[in-house]
Structure formats: C-alpha cells, structure tokens
C-alpha cells in the first residue's frame, strides 16, 4: 500500500463547522425558509401560513403550516394516499393527483375554519388563472407556497397542487408563468392545455398511443389501470367525480391503528442512571464482603 498522507487530521475536525442538521440531511433550504417565515414585527404573533407541497416516490404531502420557536405547527394536512377514499386509486403522484391533493387540503382548511360556504373557489376546473375574490364578511385564507428544494420548471406537479388549492378557495400569491400549458414564446397560459393536465389528459393520451403501438408495454405500464377497468376515455370523468367527492366531504377520517407488536430484543437495553449507580454499589459490596468484610459496610463511595 502506498503511504498516503492523511488528508483530514485533528486540526481539520477541530475547526470544522457543521451545517444545520436539516441542511446536512439536504431537506431544508434555509435561505428560502427565512424569507417565508419572517413576519413583520409590528404584526406580533399573527401567524404566517405556508402551503407546503412535497413529493415522495409514491405519495404527495400538502400541509398548511405556521412556524414557532418550539417547532412548526401543522394546521391541516392532505396526502395523496387519502385519495382512494374519494375514488382515485391509481396514479397517485401525477399532475392530476397533485391537483386533487391541493383541492382536498384547501377544502379541509376552509371547512376547519368554517369559511367553506363563503369561499367556494372555482368549482368547474377550467385551467385558466383563478384568484379568490374577497367576500364581505371575512378575508380569504392566505398562505404562501413553499416548494422546498424542487426545481420550479413550467408544468411541475407542485403547481398542479397550487392550482388545486387556488381552485379550492385559498388565497396564494402566484403567477401563471409556471402552470402546465404556459407558452414561453407567446408569454401566455393556454387554459385548454392546463385543463388537459388537471384531468389527466396527458396520461390518457399516452395510454392511447401505447395501446395502439405497443400493446405489451401498455399492459405492463398501465397494469393497475387495466386491473381497475380504467381506459383512456374514462380518466377525465373519473377525476370529475373525485373533485365532486372531495368538495362534498373533505373532513379527515381517523384511521384505526393497533398498538405496535412487541418484538424480541436482540441487544442489551441501556441502563438508567439509578440502575448504573445501584449496580456499582452492589459490585463494591460484593468486593468488600469477598476481601474480608471486617472493614466498613457502607460503600456509598460516590
């Protein structure tokens, strides 16, 4: 082995400054977070709500959160794994599902705050830019979009969720520049294209082309759709039904969870401070009694 001089010696570690934990984990962009959370000091404790959207490989998380020193407080949350309750079982991470999740969260929050009658939002999803009109009695619920670390390109699913929340009746400052269907050259949003994406039209079109050209790939790729009898033409009516079901009952249903099973312990359990002290006293007593026993009995040598 060639002798390689150690690169990171003691001095390196002594001087190393770790980044914040969530930065080390690569989960939080603090530059953006500071700007989202900072509330005017002359507004004192008025909360500033964030509309948080995050995507995992199989799920979409949408939350309304406000920050506090002890930790962020989640006002309401919606997950795309709740959508089977409203009739959508497949494609839970696509643009249309993001729209449904955003819509579900918005209706849920408004219902929680008893504002759902006043702010119906956009019942017929048309794809064009819709902003809530302030009603007479209360001002609309305002939240700021928090995308996290997502690259905000035109047509990203994050903006699908944003559109769902806007149509649900939330007041979120936005621009139509990043919705699916925005033409960079003409600099305007084509509502038809956006509407197609909201109702899964892009998925349906792909299904159609695969069905004609490559039937085997169609069978393997859309197996779950086929299993549930969903064809390319049935996608749009399905999403219409899901939207209606969401508007009808957005409340959370608590799921019954059994207490977790007891597992066999393979490693030793860590002792508490009292247990360790007691063990030491017992050991010293045993030593003293073995060594003769004529000396002191009290072994409280702390």
């Amino acid at each position: 082995m060639v002798y390689v001089k150690a690169q990171k010696g003691k001095a390196y570690f002594k001087r190393y400054q770790v980044k914040f934990k969530r930065r080390r984990e690569g989960k939080t962009d603090y530059r953006a977070r500071i700007r989202l959370i900072n509330q005017d000091k002359n507004k004192y404790n008025t909360p500033k709500y964030r509309f948080v959207v995050r995507f995992t490989n199989k799920d979409i998380v949408a939350q309304i959160t406000s920050a506090s020193i002890a930790g962020d407080i989640v006002l309401a949350a919606a997950y795309s794994h709740e959508l089977p309750r409203y009739g959508l079982e497949v494609g839970l991470t696509n643009y249309a599902a993001a729209y449904c999740t955003g819509l579900l969260l918005a209706r849920r929050v408004l219902k929680m705050l008893e504002m759902d009658e006043e702010y119906q939002g956009n019942v017929e999803a048309s794809g064009e830019d819709f902003s809530v009109e302030p009603a007479d009695t209360r001002r609309p619920f305002r939240a700021l979009l928090d995308v996290g670390l997502i690259r905000t390109t035109t047509g990203n699913r994050v903006f699908g969720a944003l559109k769902g929340a806007l149509d649900g009746g939330l007041d979120i400052p936005h621009s139509e520049k990043r919705f699916a269907g925005f033409d960079k050259e003409k600099k305007e949003l084509d509502p038809e294209v956006h509407r197609k994406y909201i109702f899964g039209g892009h998925v349906a079109a792909y299904m159609k082309t695969l069905e004609e050209d490559e039937p085997e790939k169609y069978q393997s790729h859309f197996s779950e759709y086929i299993k549930r009898g969903l064809s390319a033409d049935g996608i749009e009516p399905l999403y219409k039904k899901v939207h209606a079901a969401i508007r009808a009952d957005p409340t959370i249903k608590k799921s019954e969870k059994q207490p977790p099973k007891e597992h066999k312990r393979y490693n030793l359990k860590k002792l508490t401070y009292e247990e360790r002290k007691a063990k030491l006293i017992a050991r010293l007593q045993a030593l003293n009694s073995a060594a003769g026993g004529e000396d002191e009995d009290d072994d409280d040598d702390e």
């Binding site: 001087r15 914040f20 500071i34 000091k41 002359n42 004192y44």
Partner: protein
C-alpha cells in the same frame, strides 16, 4: 498613516461571528416577538449589514419604544460629557435579543406574591425582603491540639555571629 475613526473602526473582533458559528442565522432570531417596554440586549450580528447599530451600543441594554416591520426602536442610556442622555436608536431584529435582566425580579415577584397569599391564609406575618448574607456560623475544629507559642527573649551576643 493615521488611525481612522470610521463608523466601524476597532470592531474587527466584536463584530466578527464567533468561532464555528458562521453562516446561516438560526430562525429563532426572526421568530421572536417584542413588545414596547421590553428590555433587550443589543448584540451586533456581523453577518447582517443592514440596521446595524453603532459600535457604542454593542453590549448595551435598553427598552423597546418602537416596533416596525423588520426593526425595533431601543432607548439606551449614553453618557455624553457630564450627563446621561436617553438615546433612541432603531436596530434590526438580528442584532437584538431579549434581556434576562428583569427575569430574576419577575420570578421573585411571583414567588413573593405566592408566599404572601399563603401567609395571609394562615394569618402569619412574613417579610419577603431579601437579606444580605451574614457572617458564617461558628463551628468546632475537630482533632485540634492547643500549642501555646511564646517568643524567646532576644539574645544579642549569640545572634551577632562575628562582627560587632
């Protein structure tokens, strides 16, 4: 070259960020709320260049008199010549932290009120005044033997070894 007396002169160390605490500022500085009349400590955060107080105010404590969108108005005492002026400055929240100077007093007030209500319920008279620490109580020294030491009378002849 003469010494400069600029705004931030002689602040090389006091305005620099502490060892291994550079970079992103922790969010609690932005989440804290202040009310008029609170006591605050001014401690300059060299990473934020806006709304910095002058170096004189670094380490001073004052009361809040105004609150704006991103800054706080603090009233600090400054000795100018033969008098003390109450100076009103505006400082961004990053350079301010809540002062604990009144904490002990506040807690003592609450505790005293509790003691007084208890004493009133029992019909006793108590004094909640703080007493200074008195002299230590006496104690016996164990295993001590007494040895009386007296000086020996001065012997001139023997002590002047040679040479007189």
């Amino acid at each position: 070259m003469p010494a400069g007396h600029g705004l931030r002169s002689r602040t090389r160390d006091s305005f620099s960020r502490p060892f291994r605490k550079k970079g992103t500022i922790a969010l609690t500085t932005y989440l804290r709320t202040y009310h008029i009349g609170d006591y605050v400590d001014i401690k300059v955060n060299g990473a934020v260049h806006k709304g910095m107080p002058h170096k004189f105010y670094h380490g001073r404590t004052g009361r809040v008199w105004n609150i704006t969108k991103r800054a706080i108005g603090v009233e600090v005492n400054k000795q100018v010549g033969n008098r003390i002026i109450r100076k009103r400055i505006h400082v961004r929240v990053e350079h301010v932290m809540p002062s604990r100077c009144m904490e002990e007093f506040r807690l003592r007030k609450i505790n005293n009120d509790k003691l007084k209500t208890e004493a009133k319920a029992n019909g006793q008279q108590i004094s909640t005044k703080r007493q200074p620490e008195g002299p230590k109580p006496g104690f016996m020294v164990e295993a001590a033997t007494l040895e009386t030491v007296t000086p020996i009378p001065y012997d001139v002849v023997n002590d002047l070894k040679g040479g007189y």
